[in-house]
Amino acid sequence: MSDERLRPPAPFAARAILILVTIALYLPLLNVVVLSFRVPEGWGGEWYSQILGDGTIADALVNSLIVAVASSALATILGTMAALALRQGGFAGRRVLEAASYISLMLPEILFALALLSWFATLKIALGLQTVILAHVTFSISYVILTVGARLASFDPSLEDAARDLGAPEWKILTGVVLPLLAPSLFAAFLLCFLLSFDDFLITFFVNGAGSETLPTKLYATMKTGLTPKLNALAALMWLASGAILIVAFRSKSIRGLLKAGEKA
């Protein structure tokens, strides 16, 4: 490719820094994995079998999965609707929609968390998994708008025109032409939301109330009381899960595009 010829290699110092950065990013994570196999008698998978037998961890996992699936599904539906609407343009709420989605992307988590907490308290909505789901949907929608919107931007409108010329009603064009073509990006958006939700700590920590621990809040509570090899095993498993989802997600063009373009600031 001519493109390759046009990119003279970066200086040695830059390449060295890239390698050092990668080492700095992975060393702590790999250390967790290695130490998770450290048992009193030497090495082994004991901590992993302890985790599988721990009821509180299983409860947290179930909560995490409920929240992640429910919030990702809702966010994907709502975000796709918004992306379709934004593509049309020229309606009154467009500015508000864009502004709110921008705010939700840029607002520091902690402000979002405390705003939701005082809002839920004012409305006397009981804290629990339901408030966690509401919160997760809210911060996920904008990512769906970005992912699905990117696909819609490269969408060939003549396909819809063709369907219209053949007499298809609007809803039929949407369900029969647009949505099937969007399916890969919908899947990518769902995965991205799942990952964001599954990993979220701070917002969950504020709005979950007592007794509805998710895996990250459970991990935090355990870390506060002290480091144990069992904790390392739990973290290693969580890391493996995120990594597996990421590798699936990376196969999707929409997500790769999103990563490559970087987030808009």
């Binding site: 950065v21 609407a85 049309q88 520091p108 405390l114 907490l117 809002w119 973290a235 970087g262 987030e263």
Partner: protein, 280 residues
């Protein structure tokens, strides 16, 4: 497609109910009084804002802004070099690097912090090496200190800078580098006079992408800094979850939004200046 416009309404309602209304609520609460039992008493007051100027709070604000600033500058400086090396690798390797940087980025922050803690912790390699070399150290200071917080912040937020800078390098016209090389420019001159001026908007953008979340960071100072470290994120969490002084917490939150807005204003002014100069 008329049907499409109607699709906006559920999302508009959702955003109104769960973003705009809660944020307005924070503004309202910041002018209220703290109730006797930690609730909110709706008597208008400016007291919460007056308390922001107390030396203790001012110190926390200053330290938080300083830490976020140092972290952002470090992440952008390291990130621009790393992204340069990534973008000039062969196209197959580029995708691998992208996954390599994105994986820790999408890893739970708690796991990254746990990783650092185990690295310096009792059975970790650092203490093991020091013991082996018979270097004396204090295990309590070692597992919770300021440099560790800074290291945790930089290593956690590096991908926030590397990824957008890599995106900018993907769009960068590398024939400029070739031209500079032909004219006899050295590596340092190329970096300073060709790469940096062309990347200004992305540099400002990635500075903000690091600075904004850093300013409200809670987990890293809480778990790596020990009891002594108090930053904005910890102060906010304390007010909302422990002291239950929501009016004061809301005022602190608004001060945080305001300082972020100022940072954004400065960075975007710098960015438009840069692109105007480029156009001229």
């Amino acid at each position: 497609m008329k049907i499409a416009r109607a699709l906006a309404f559920p999302v508009l309602a959702w955003f109104f109910f769960l973003i705009l209304a809660p944020l307005s609520m924070v503004v309202a609460v910041s002018f209220a009084k703290r109730g006797t039992y930690g609730g909110v008493e709706w008597t208008p007051t400016l007291e919460n804002y007056a308390r922001l100027w107390s030396p203790a709070v001012a110190r926390i604000v200053f330290e938080s802004v300083w830490l976020a600033g140092v972290t952002a500058v470090a992440c952008v400086s390291i990130g621009v070099l790393a992204a340069w090396a990534m973008a000039t690798a062969s196209s197959k390797k580029r995708d691998l690097w992208l996954i390599a940087i994105a994986l820790p980025f999408l890893t739970n922050g708690l796991i990254r912090v746990l990783g650092l803690k185990t690295l310096v912790g009792a059975s970790g390699p650092l203490q093991w090496t020091l013991t082996f070399l018979a270097v004396p150290f204090d295990p309590f200071v070692m597992t919770a200190n300021q440099p560790l917080v800074l290291y945790g912040m930089i290593s956690s937020y590096l991908p926030f800078a590397v990824l957008p800078l890599y995106g900018a390098f993907e769009k960068f016209d590398f024939s400029l580098v070739e031209a500079a090389q032909d004219l006899g420019a050295g590596e340092w001159a190329i970096f300073r006079r060709v790469i940096l001026p062309n990347l200004k908007p992305a540099l400002a953008g990635s500075f903000l992408l690091v600075f904004i979340p850093c300013l409200g960071e809670y987990v890293i100072p809480d778990l790596l800094g020990g009891a002594k470290t108090m930053l904005l994120g910890n102060l906010l969490t304390e007010q909302f979850l422990k002291a239950r002084d929501w009016p004061f917490g809301s005022a602190v939150g608004l001060a945080l939004i305001l300082s972020l807005f100022l940072a954004w204003l400065v960075a975007s002014r710098w960015r438009t200046d840069a692109s105007r100069k480029k156009a001229a």
